[in-house]
Symmetry: T
Subunit: 74 residues, 12 copies
Amino acid sequence: MKDHVYRITDLVGSSETSIDDAIRKAIAKASRTVRHLRWFEVVETRGMIEDGQVAYFQVTLKVGFQVEDDKPGS
Amino acid sequence: MKDHVYRITDLVGSSETSIDDAIRKAIAKASRTVRHLRWFEVVETRGMIEDGQVAYFQVTLKVGFQVEDDKPGS
Amino acid sequence: MKDHVYRITDLVGSSETSIDDAIRKAIAKASRTVRHLRWFEVVETRGMIEDGQVAYFQVTLKVGFQVEDDKPGS
Amino acid sequence: MKDHVYRITDLVGSSETSIDDAIRKAIAKASRTVRHLRWFEVVETRGMIEDGQVAYFQVTLKVGFQVEDDKPGS
Amino acid sequence: MKDHVYRITDLVGSSETSIDDAIRKAIAKASRTVRHLRWFEVVETRGMIEDGQVAYFQVTLKVGFQVEDDKPGS
Amino acid sequence: MKDHVYRITDLVGSSETSIDDAIRKAIAKASRTVRHLRWFEVVETRGMIEDGQVAYFQVTLKVGFQVEDDKPGS
Amino acid sequence: MKDHVYRITDLVGSSETSIDDAIRKAIAKASRTVRHLRWFEVVETRGMIEDGQVAYFQVTLKVGFQVEDDKPGS
Amino acid sequence: MKDHVYRITDLVGSSETSIDDAIRKAIAKASRTVRHLRWFEVVETRGMIEDGQVAYFQVTLKVGFQVEDDKPGS
Amino acid sequence: MKDHVYRITDLVGSSETSIDDAIRKAIAKASRTVRHLRWFEVVETRGMIEDGQVAYFQVTLKVGFQVEDDKPGS
Amino acid sequence: MKDHVYRITDLVGSSETSIDDAIRKAIAKASRTVRHLRWFEVVETRGMIEDGQVAYFQVTLKVGFQVEDDKPGS
Amino acid sequence: MKDHVYRITDLVGSSETSIDDAIRKAIAKASRTVRHLRWFEVVETRGMIEDGQVAYFQVTLKVGFQVEDDKPGS
Amino acid sequence: MKDHVYRITDLVGSSETSIDDAIRKAIAKASRTVRHLRWFEVVETRGMIEDGQVAYFQVTLKVGFQVEDDKPGS
């Protein structure tokens, strides 16, 4: 990481299955529009409840990506 | 959520299996005594260790539920 | 816990599989060098991204262990 | 406050008009089911957006109320 | 704690004598209306001043109690 | 929110009139360049003072917006 | 702000009308005894409840003021 | 507290005896130079160790005092 | 700042020389792709260690920039 | 403290008597295995409840100790 | 520090050169009007940007000073 | 970092010269007794004042180091 400048964006992903899956989905979708994703940090874990059961998990992530030299970042 | 007032209660659930399962168990059990649960937020993830292994995971949740108009909430 | 003094150490573990597995691995490995581990608390959940996918999850834990009366702790 | 024990409950109220109004509505509605409300603290101010405008404000409050000697609190 | 779900309530107690006494009083009074109290955490220590002296100490506690299977918690 | 990924951006808005107005202005202006704004959270409330009076209020918001499938977000 | 040193003082103001008014009142009153007030930050928003209604709002502010070169600040 | 503006100052007091005593000493000494002290909040509890024993406790307090109308506060 | 809306982006910069230099490098590089940068706040200071020495410093900044009226921000 | 490097360890101590006593016990016991303890900071105050009474107080401390030049610290 | 009561004041200093210099300038200037300054803590590091470069660094400090027995502190 | 478990220790270093130097000194000294230091994070920046000038800077660091497979860490 020595020679680069990074930017960090906040993402929210969700999953009916698990917290891990909510993270994976958010990263996978973001990678379609932002290049050079490098790391993430979970800043919030929430979820919605329906009929007395967890309907889905929802995670908020900080995601770091490398700023390219010749063009604007996301 | 525009027309309602909600209350938030703090719950602790646990599971030998996973963090996700500890969340599901806490929500399911709370739904037997508190109606109209709507969302949760994970505020702490802990666990106990026995014989050098994770014995169980323990999560503390904030859980929001809708206050009914004609009777007291939980 | 009434009669003991405990010390707390910070650990970082990782796993390509899941957050739960990263926690289990860190505890299992620490138990090989520190005795009498009793509880843990997750203080940070992060991860690395490669090719637009989660490469591995990385958790930071506070882990409490009992101080023995006759010899130094870790 | 010298001679009493208080309990604190968390409430969420909302208003299309203002933050102040969201607070007033949450307090007024809670006072119908919990007696002896004494003070509040704003712990979160959020809101929903529709068509590029604030649809409503939503405040989370901690509300303290006096525990009566002869019967359970809320 | 493995097999139970707990709820957490926030209490405020006070004492002219000491912080410890304010904690003891809040717990003792709460135990008259909430059963199965298990642990507490001090989240705030305050007090009032009169005539240039501490008039009383006031502590805010989070108190965990076990949810019974067959009836609603507090 | 079940099927979408969201991004969060931080905004600062100001108003000579009120905190509510500073929030409304920031949202309204942002909606001209970022589509599909969904919610906000107030993270800081500040202001400037001139001649011993509040000159203007200034709020920092986190604003969530939906990531579209076929094109980059803001 | 480049050439000055500032000090920050904490103020508490209140109003029966609104949060905005509580801020304005605290600033206006402080400006009678402290000169060169420059900015404020809201650090806590609370209030008192009477008869199930908001009796008054109470805000805690950090207020920055310029230290004069030739005499002590507040 | 409805009709007044308050200022808050930070104090550090210490005692070889107890945390309570460190608080009482700080309040008592401050009351000799600042009038109209009204409340305090403990923001940090520390201490020094000598020869493997607690040498003294040291508490940091926020202390609120009423601003008089006709003269500057502390 | 009265008449503008600002956005805030998170940046990570690094330097083998000093914390100050890491900040300067991050700002200078960001200014090549984002216009109208106005202020920054340091939110994290970290670094990497090699051979028992600081290899480089790494700072995370929040950087505020003015949103232009006629075109999207970064 | 000018010429030394210190390390900080986290300790948990408990007492049936008081918070002060729990601190003293943790420091006294730690001093048997770690030399050159210099200061402590209370980071958490908790306790267990039995039969509706405080069974014991439990404090978590950060404790600083001087690193000796010629041998490893604790 | 055993026998004294201290007060803490918040200062903001700035420098075009470095963070260290901003701290030194704030301390040096404060020492002209407040006596017996003893320690400081950095609570915020910010700065202003002009023409895509750091214009100046700005630090907020908590500064502790000893209260004299025979006269009011600052 | 994929295949290792790390431990984190807290260090305090100081320097009369600069914050950067205090960090470097703490790392350099720690590396004499703890092997495989990998990264650090600054968690507190303080200092002592003498004669109205900064006497020395003092930084508290979290320092991560790799746990070796065949022997205990520090």
